[in-house]
């Protein structure tokens, strides 16, 4: 009876292993398929052109991106009109000739000044912002651009393919990882169970054979806890130790109350500092400009976002392509583009007509760095005068997909830095006299912020 009973788990384990291996194998093969490089489509080439003559759309694309893309897109209005099929449109619908186009591109203010009807109409339509003249472009260059505008090479499609392929790979990778981990855990659990069963079986055998285990031997002497309880000195020492340890842990626990290091709230718009400060290398103080002059770094007003996002209406991926990790979290191009649309909704930007509707909805960001009211902190002092990098306190923001509080922002943390950081006296006329006196009186060249009074209560608490 016993033996039969004991055999059953082994069968179960074998069965489980089979199921797991069966489950794993298709996943692995699927992964292989997905990671195979997708075939890239070659761009259609040659024989392209516009009503103004033949042009090289590949070269045209390059020129377009260099000169035009800041204000024009092919399929939508931006600062200037959409340029898709512009030559056909102008020649056929507006009755203009190619010479007009050349003249316009090379010197649009001149065309406007000459009183040209269409030129003035466009000028008025686009809030009287004249197009930058491009006198360096030759007629052939313009033809190339027009050719590209007439029939853009299907490069975007080609570019999109790897981007579209990658998420699939990333997703399957994510799933298989989980599966592998799950299977491993299962195997481990089975092993533990087996060990337990083996142990029990062996003990039963020992019992049946009348072998005395170690434990039973010990039970016959004085139990350990009793011996411990009888030794009063040991009890005293232990209780003192426990009390101290308890106090230590209680203190440490209490000291972290209100310290929100690592606080990483979900924001109403998924704004990625990694994309902006990291991938695109935008200076922190471009957006947080008030950090230079004010006590607050300032959450940028939405009009600052729109400086760039008037023309950047979609996310096209970072230069290295999206990482698998990002894709696993769902940070796809479409996702980011969706966040840009949230910005448009908040600021009231009508993409179609490229104008503000006036129907805005302020964004309620969740504040991450909360100093208590009784602590005064001034960004300008640290950023402009102290010349401290933003990252010193805010951490590697350029790598943060989601912003979080990097530093503890405790007084001890402030004070430690003040003790070790030298005051930036060089080249600041304010410090000239102080520096001179210090050198004369004490023979020191450098002083820390603390030595300049940076530890005084009243410098931050008033």
């Amino acid at each position: 009876m016993k033996k039969v009973q004991n055999r059953q788990p082994f069968i179960a384990i074998t069965g489980f292993c089979l199921v797991v291996s069966l489950l794993l194998s298709p996943t692995l093969s699927a992964q292989d398929q997905a990671t195979e490089p997708a075939a890239t489509q070659e761009a259609a080439d040659g024989g392209a052109g516009s009503p103004c003559g033949p042009g090289d759309p590949v070269k045209g694309k390059q020129l377009f991106n260099q000169n035009c893309a800041a204000c024009h897109a092919l399929d939508r209005k931006m600062t200037g009109p959409a340029l898709g099929g512009v030559a056909t449109r102008l020649t056929e619908q507006e009755g203009l000739d190619c010479e007009w186009i050349y003249a316009w591109v090379k010197n649009s203010p001149g065309v406007i000044a000459s009183g040209d009807a269409y030129g003035n109409r466009i000028y008025g339509e686009y809030s009287q912002a004249a197009m930058t003249p491009f006198p360096t472009l030759s007629n052939q260059d313009i033809n190339d651009i027009l050719a590209y505008a007439e029939a853009p090479p299907p490069a975007p499609v080609a570019a999109a393919t790897p981007a579209a392929g990658a998420p699939a790979a990333g997703t399957s990778q994510g799933i298989s990882n989980e599966l592998i981990l799950g299977a491993l855990a299962l195997v481990f659990a089975l092993l533990v169970m087996m060990l337990f069963l083996v142990n029990r079986t062996l003990r039963r055998i020992a019992e049946a054979n009348g072998v005395l285990t170690e434990k039973e031997k010990a039970a016959k002497g004085v139990p350990l806890w009793k011996a411990f309880a009888q030794n009063q000195f040991l009890v005293l020492v232990t209780s003192i130790f426990l009390l101290l340890a308890g106090a230590y842990f209680a203190y440490s626990w209490m000291m972290q109350i209100g310290v929100d290091q690592g606080y990483m709230p979900v924001q109403p718009i998924h704004y990625s500092h990694k994309v902006h400060a990291g991938d695109n290398g935008i200076d922190c103080k471009y957006c947080h400009s008030s950090a230079r002059v004010s006590k607050t770094s300032g959450i940028p007003a939405l009009n600052v976002c729109m400086n760039c996002h008037k023309s950047i209406y979609e996310y096209k991926g970072n230069p290295e392509g999206p990482s698998a990790e990002d894709l696993a979290k769902g940070y796809t191009n479409e996702f980011y583009t969706g966040e840009i649309k949230k910005l448009y909704a908040a600021v009231g930007w009508d993409e179609q007509n490229q104008q503000y509707t006036g129907d805005s909805k302020p964004v309620e960001w969740v504040r991450i760095h909360n100093l208590p009211d009784f602590a005064y902190f001034n960004h300008a002092q640290h950023v402009s005068v102290g010349k401290i990098e933003c990252q010193t306190c805010h951490g590697p923001v350029q790598e943060m997909e989601v912003m979080y509080q990097y530093s503890p922002l405790t007084m001890g943390w402030c004070v430690n830095c003040h003790r070790t950081t030298n005051v930036q006296m060089e080249g600041n006329a304010y410090y000239e006299k102080i520096h001179e006196e210090l050198a004369k009186k004490y023979g020191v060249e450098k002083v820390t912020a603390a030595q300049m009074g940076g530890l005084e209560c009243g410098k931050c608490h008033y």
Binding site: S290, A301, V347, E364, A429, Y430, E456, C457, G458
Partner: protein, 1045 residues
Amino acid sequence: MHMASNKKYWKSEAELSPNDSIVEKLRQNEFPEEIPVDTFLGDKEQLGSSQTSRRDFLKYVGFSTAAASLAACEGPVRKSIPYVMQPERIVPGVANYYASTIADGFDFASILVKTREGRPIKIESNKQAGVLGGTNARVQASVLSLYDSTRLQGPRGADGDVEWDTLDAAVRARLSGMQGSGKKAVLLTQTYASPSTARLIAQFQEAFPGTEHVTYDAISEEAALAAYAAKYGERALADYDFSKAELIVSFGADILGDWQGGGYDSGYARGRVPKNGVMSRHIQFEATMSLSGANADKRVPLSPAGQKVALAHLYARLNGSSTSGELPEAAARALDSVVSAIGAKHGKAVVVSGLDDADAQAVVLAINEMLGSEAFDPAAPRYVRQGNQQAVAQLLADMQAGRVGALIMDGVNPAYTLPNAAAFAEAMTSVDLTVAFSTNWNETTELCNFTAAASHYLESWGDTQIKKGHYGLTQPVIRQLFDTRQLQQSLLSWMGSEQSWYDYINETWTAGILAGGDWNQALHDGVYVPGAMAMSDPEVASAPGADKENTAAANASDALSVPAIAEAVRRLAGASESGMSLVLYAKTGMGDGRQASNPWLQEFPDPITRVTWDNYVTVSKKDAGDLGLVNEHVANGGLDGSYVNLTVGGVTLSQVPVIIQPGQAEGTLGLALGYGKKVGMKSEMQTGVNAFGLYQDFSRQQTASIEKAAGMHEFASIQLHNTLMGRGDIIKETTLEIFNTEDAAHWNPVPQVSLNHQEVPATTVDLWDSFDRSIGHHFNMSIDLNACTGCGACVIACHAENNVPVVGKLEMRRSRDMHWLRIDRYYSSEETFAADNNKKDEFSGALESKSGFEEMEDAAANPQVAFQPVMCQHCNHAPCETVCPVAATIHSRQGHNQMAYNRCVGTRYCANNCPYKVRRFNWFLYSDNDEFDYNMNNDLGKMVLNPDVVVRSRGVMEKCSWCIQLTQKAILDAKREGRPVTDDEFQTACSNACNSGAIVFGDINDPESAVSKLKADARMYHLLEHVGTQPNVFYQVKVRNTNEA
């Protein structure tokens, strides 16, 4: 033993009677009366039917406690909402300043408004303005009136809120319907002194013929206006520059208060600081102790009738003639010395009067003209008072006769400020349409058909001509908080004009005033003085070329008016009085009462009496004795005073509290206007009695009868001790003669202490080692007791800058005021402080000193007065720092004594150990607390808080920080721009607000700074120097110009 056990103890006699039912009941029931359990448990029936058992109840309690403590561990989620479109000039965290002008009908001043993130938080002086560029306490406080939670939030009709369209339609219909009906429309307004408003009203009168414009000042300068008009042909007020006067003789003119629009203190103070041994001499004849009297070198208590006689005598004697009229002996002697002094000074002397008497004002003008006074400027007068009392009286008559079809009021509250307010209210019912523009609901709006919610001046456009040729612009610094509108905009709209009031002002200026000047520059500066004005405008006579002609004209008018003046002098000399003379005045804090719902001003201690939250009648000690009136200190530390009933011309004001005022002329009384407002005010703000009922014929000098009434009034006075008790080292003072002839060691001796049985200067003895403060900045503050007039602008500036809470009358009475800066006022017990010091020094023996000190507690009948602003002295060796158990107050190398609120545990040991008593304890939470329903208890009032300064909580000590936020900012600005800090950049709120230049703040490590030079001045001394605290605040010895005959 046995005997003892038989002893019976009884609690009351009744117990001895065994059959007493009460005793039995008490024995059985612990609570003889039934305890109202049901009342506090609520509905008994519901309670009985409840399913909640005791055990469930405990479960709920336990659960909610656990939930509350768990929830407390989570920090709150805070939102940050940036601008959608950030305005170009607003940087969050950086203040913007805009130049503007206040012209609320009582106060006129060129100001700077400090705004943070678009909300005005502080008013400062516009130091660029040549005229009225100083801010007084009321102007400083006016920013809080913007955030008054009782402000009107939109137009109202008879039955509640209406739309502007409804109001406009009603007014338009009435105005056009009235044409040819024989009725007229009347605009009853405050003084605007606004060129554009004048032009607009003229146009309005053209559009609606027959419309009248009546200007009404609650506190009138009718007599001065009439006298000026008679002599110079224009209703205006002669201007004075007291910095040019070496002798100032005042007959009841409170030149440091609100006399003729006020704002004369900075010029006055400039002449009061001895330079090269010279300072001005000021002789004041007055009845009630005013700021000017307190600052005068010689003050002569004299009833208003006496002042008139004295003025008549002065004119006659200067003129070489004689006149009748008897003067009291002291006044006659004083007048003798005035006459001889004027003889010596001539053109350097000036005579002014505050008597509401056209004769007196005419005589004063004649005297100044006769002297050729340099301080007297009749050519470019002031326009800050335009009220015409005949016109107001005529208006009332017209209203009563039913000749007024529409009454449109702006900036006035006649139902409160008119002496015959009841008659006016009655007459208002005979007017077909009454509309009042007002920021607050008040006695007048209550009676109107429509109340037009008016914009606060910080939300308004406007322009002013405060003084001839001195223009100012008012610009909005915040968008209208509520649905409010200015009268001017409404007038434009009623006229059918599409123009905005801004465009209208711009048009006026471009067409006339600017004369080629730049509008934007004028708006930026807030003030504009046309350079070529005199050339383009032949009427203005301030240019040198036109002077001659004008003098000739003036002489001609003089020649004509000599008999008239002689007549006036004769009438003055014949002045007499029967009964008590009552002098009505405007308090430094309250003015005419238009800001009565401003808690800062209610809590502002009167500079003279140091009483807050009240007005009262001041009586002399002798009269108080005769009438049986008392002031007494009661056990809880408060000051109580008797009540009286005052009657003037049949009008009785009952239950007026009494303050016994040293220096009050015998037979005279004083009472402040502007109190006793009730309608539209929070109950806390309804303080004092309304004295406007006694302001008959718009004269501040009345004859009154007084009788004692029952009861005692509880005052909230924050200074109960009136004299210095001969402690000459607190306020050091000397006379100009001694100052000029003796060594500083004589009049400014360094206190001596005994060290090793040797007398040594206290400054050389030190318990502590000093830090080296020679590197970087070391701040010091100088307070010149000669320049300080006691006006208290600094007190309110400190309030605004440092989020000082308002604590209310009851707490003030308990001496729990929170003002970081106080201005102590001391009276001398003998005739002078010097006599006090001598008396104390000459005490011999304990008995004599006991009785002597008791005598010295009483101020003299006409005492010398001294003001001393005291804030934290920022001692280098501060006694407070050594006793703090948690090191919450520490010293900085820049000289600040710092207070870390978040570290303070509230032992109050520091306050006990402070020899200057400048520390303030937060007994309660003063923000978000219904018990203290002032500005910090509502969202609107909190908008005035300075975001750079924390709002302190209950249980912590606070005190003057020397506005470290301002010095830190000045330093940071310099660091950012990479340049040294200039001397004038270092300011505190008080030093910045001080118009008289008494408070100077700066860095003594900069040898060129003003404060370094003042520290080296021979007049410099420290408060309680013998204590050895080494304060960083120092004072300048007060010098009185009393030596000259």
